[in-house]
Symmetry: C2
Subunit: 132 residues, 2 copies
């Protein structure tokens, strides 16, 4: 994943200010992994997986929604953790050892997850609590 | 999944002649699972999973490509089987116990799988061999 301008699903331009390879995860307080088609690419980026492992190893706040937990499967950090996700990947996180729950937001220590955009209010609420 | 007209990704109309719930898998010689966004929906259809289990239990021919193996993860039939898939779901089939190989086509008895549309020639060739 490179620095620079990228186009979102609905045509909006987004300025990416840093590439995964240039991120020092020590500088960040929370990791937020959104959904859509991105996680299937992010999970193939070894630097993104190293960043993800850092947050879990240091027990720092992590929030993942929809397809976001695909990255957690690839980083090998979801086993034994309470989590939810987009229903289409439910069986994948279960196969990877997650303790799946069908709730708008699932809280497991410093890790929160939600199922879909319909859950964004609860997801945002619990994510912010992690930073307090 | 219902009988009737559906629209494909590129706008083509497809006439679905039978719903999963009305399929008697005994009447069919091969199960072919294509990729794209379909498998994330098909894997949530209990009738589709029963059809899939029938083919594996009876050791009948199965061919899956791209995201198709997501259905095999949900049907619980991929553990211990040699397989390949779209690279974005590679870690999911590995978590589910598949013996992943990065090849244009992977043959494990009566089960063949491929990675992407670029592999279609090899996929079709081996699929047809299963029917001979």
């Amino acid at each position: 994943m490179k620095k620079g301008k990228i186009k979102g699903k609905y045509g909006y331009d987004v300025e990416v200010d840093i590439a995964f390879k240039d991120v020092n995860p020590e500088d960040y307080d929370i990791l937020v992994i959104s959904g859509g088609k991105g996680p299937e690419k992010m999970r193939l980026d070894k630097d993104a997986l190293e960043i993800t492992k850092h947050f879990f190893e240091k027990n720092k706040p992590v929030a993942a929604i929809c397809h976001g937990p695909q990255v957690l499967v690839s980083a090998g950090v979801i086993k034994g953790r309470k989590a939810t996700c987009w229903i289409g990947i439910r069986d994948d996180i279960i196969a990877a050892g997650a303790l799946y729950e069908d709730s708008e937001v699932v809280i497991d220590g410093n890790f929160v997850s939600s199922r879909s955009p319909d859950d964004l209010y609860a997801f945002g609420r619990e994510m912010i609590k992690l930073l307090k």
